[in-house]
């Protein structure tokens, strides 16, 4: 027995030493010993929107070669803002712009600056055998479906918009999000601008009391539910619709046109939207005739002076600066591959100006362009 105990302890210590030795040879991955020189070195931590997570993680891995380490935690827009306010991250990702209460809470540390970085489409996906992509739906009809008033696929409301299509008489199963999300906020924003009943009964928020339907967690949960349930309809981000080969609806926009969700129609949603100087805008229900109406924006939010706010060390400023410059500059070219739409040039210029105005302890933030 005793010898067995010694054997176990010996094995454990060998394992521990092995693990430590294995790790120390890779130490250059952690911390601020940048490989690419001082221009971009450092570590910047961020958290927030799950919608934009693939973008930031992709950008972060590209910039690692320059010596910048970007850590991003996709915990939700609200959590990201909370962490920025609490001081545990240097930047936050959020789909909706900050609410007035959130801004006043953040003001204790500094002035929050919104930097738009990308747009994405929220598709209305359905699982209906025999019906191809492009079913025409408008805001009022979608609202009625999600209210539970329209229960069958061949309801006159849907048939009216799709005269040439034969619709089955099966029941509609509504799938919605059970967790809080900027995607839900965007979707419900759209619904309430076309349905006064939705506005008064349900409203628009990151999570609402859904009148009908099944709740699933995350875009992936909704996608799985749509995939498994014949006759279902739900809202998911473009990337998930593409991943699962969903059939998606063409939605009527403000100008009366039925538009399919695509990169072009999503970028178009950003054009023609009035953008205030503080860059806090949304592109839901854009007036542009070519726009897909259920498109959402996403921001990176930082303090005007992150270092003074205590969320960023001076040594890490180049990393954040490089990241932000890349976001509103070269990084835009990668968005298409990730299924996000890039900023229209007018907004991109405004975003670049906003980044140029950022500081660290009074001097410019730095980092390479």
């Amino acid at each position: 027995m005793k010898s067995r105990q010694w054997l176990a302890m010996a094995a454990a210590s060998v394992l521990a030493i092995g693990v430590a030795a294995c790790g120390s040879s890779n130490n250059d991955n952690a911390g601020s010993t940048g490989g690419g020189g001082g221009k971009s070195s450092g570590t910047a931590d961020g958290a927030g929107s799950t919608f934009a997570a693939p973008i930031y993680q992709q950008w972060g891995s590209t910039l690692k070669g320059d010596g910048a380490t970007i850590n991003y935690q996709p915990v939700g827009s609200g959590a990201g803002i909370a962490q920025l306010t609490a001081g545990t991250v240097a930047f936050a990702g959020s789909d909706p712009p900050m609410k007035p209460e959130e801004i006043s809470a953040a003001k204790k540390k500094g002035d929050p600056v919104h930097i738009p970085v990308a747009f994405g489409a929220i598709t209305v996906s359905y699982n209906l055998s025999g019906v191809k992509s492009g079913l025409k739906l408008d805001g009022a009809t979608i609202a009625d479906i999600f209210l539970g008033k329209v229960k069958k696929w061949n309801d006159p409301e849907i048939a009216k918009l799709n005269p040439g299509t034969s619709l089955p008489s099966s029941n509609i199963t509504v799938i919605h999000r059970s967790d809080e999300s900027g995607t839900t906020k965007g979707f419900t924003d759209f619904l309430q601008s076309y349905s006064s009943e939705w506005k008064s009964k349900v409203g628009s928020d990151k999570t609402v009391k859904w009148p009908t339907g099944t709740g699933a967690k995350g875009n992936d949960g909704v996608a799985a539910a749509i995939k498994q349930t014949a006759g279902s309809i739900g809202y998911v981000e473009q990337a998930y619709a593409l991943q699962n080969n969903f059939t998606t609806a063409d939605v009527k926009n403000q100008s009366g046109k039925f538009v399919a969700p695509s990169l072009e129609s999503t970028t178009a949603a950003g054009e023609g939207v009035k953008v205030p100087s503080n860059l806090q805008f949304t592109i839901i229900n854009s007036p542009n005739p070519a726009a897909y109406p259920i498109a959402s924006q996403t921001f990176l939010i930082v303090y005007k002076d992150d270092c003074k706010a205590g969320v960023l060390k001076k040594a890490d400023a180049p990393a954040l600066g490089t990241f932000l410059n890349y976001a509103v500059g070269q990084g835009q070219s990668v968005l298409g591959q990730l299924q996000y739409a890039k900023l229209p040039s007018a907004i991109q210029t405004k975003a670049q100006d906003a980044v140029k105005g950022l500081q660290c302890n009074g001097s410019p933030l730095g980092g390479s362009a």
Partner: protein
Amino acid sequence: MEARSLELRGGRSLLERSPLSGIGDKILRWVLTALAAGILALIAFFFIRLYVEAKPAFDRFGIFGFTFDNNWDVSRQIFGALPLVVGTLITSAVALLIGVPVAVGTALYVTEFAPRPIRAVLSFTIELLAAFPSVVLGLWGVYVLIPKLKPAEQWFSDTFSFLPFVGGPVAGPNYFIGGLLLAIMLIPIVTAISREVISTVPAEHKEAALALGATRWEMIKMAVLPYSRAGITGAAMLGLGRAIGETIAVTLVIGNAPQIGKQLFDQGYTLAAVIANEFGEAASDPVHRAALIAAGLVLFVLTLAVNAIARLLVNRGVHGRRATKEAAPA
């Protein structure tokens, strides 16, 4: 025996302990008591800290209002947790009803009936169930259980609709699947500990029963079960704890509808699931955040109540039967 041989130099008896060895005992007692007290202090601190964070929600809705109002509406900032409490109770009850008999039955089979060679392998394999991360079981539930069980659930619902709480359309994710997943999660715990307990029943008890002519099953009823009753209850408590507190797996398969479902196969919500679903976004909204922490606190109190009731039930049974000195106290 002569007294002389027990005497050491100086007249001390061999059986007398040196004064130093008393210190070891004192230290041990002191350290262990301090540990136990420390744990209590930690739990108290835990409770108080959470209460402080949850206070804004209790201030706005009142403690009873928060716990017993049937309206969880986040966008309107109304937080009444009754549907969550009910959901937690239903899924835990289903989990216990399914999981504990299976687990105890398995433990009995493994220790009493399984052929010797496969005994170790079998018990090891069951414990493997505990190795699955909860997110994996939840996803398996979503992709496999929900679609595969739906037809059977619908059949059950239609055939037995005369029973209370059964009947009506079957939602994909529902209370039953939540309870079933929880049962799967608590089986390894309850089995493993029950097995430990059952295997320590003294052979004399079992042999005595067999010698009286009892069949194997009767021997179990007479000798094994009464002896292990308290230990098995302890195991079931651990299983119950797991069921009440499980977060991620349940979130994925219960449908997350803040309503009190009318039947077993309806969607529902649990206290733990609401925290997992909403905490991310709620972090920046003080009232919502307080409401979620308050939900955690309600869960804590719920566990307190359930444990107290279970203890009462068990103690009433055990006190009558304690005969031998070696029976384990509750």
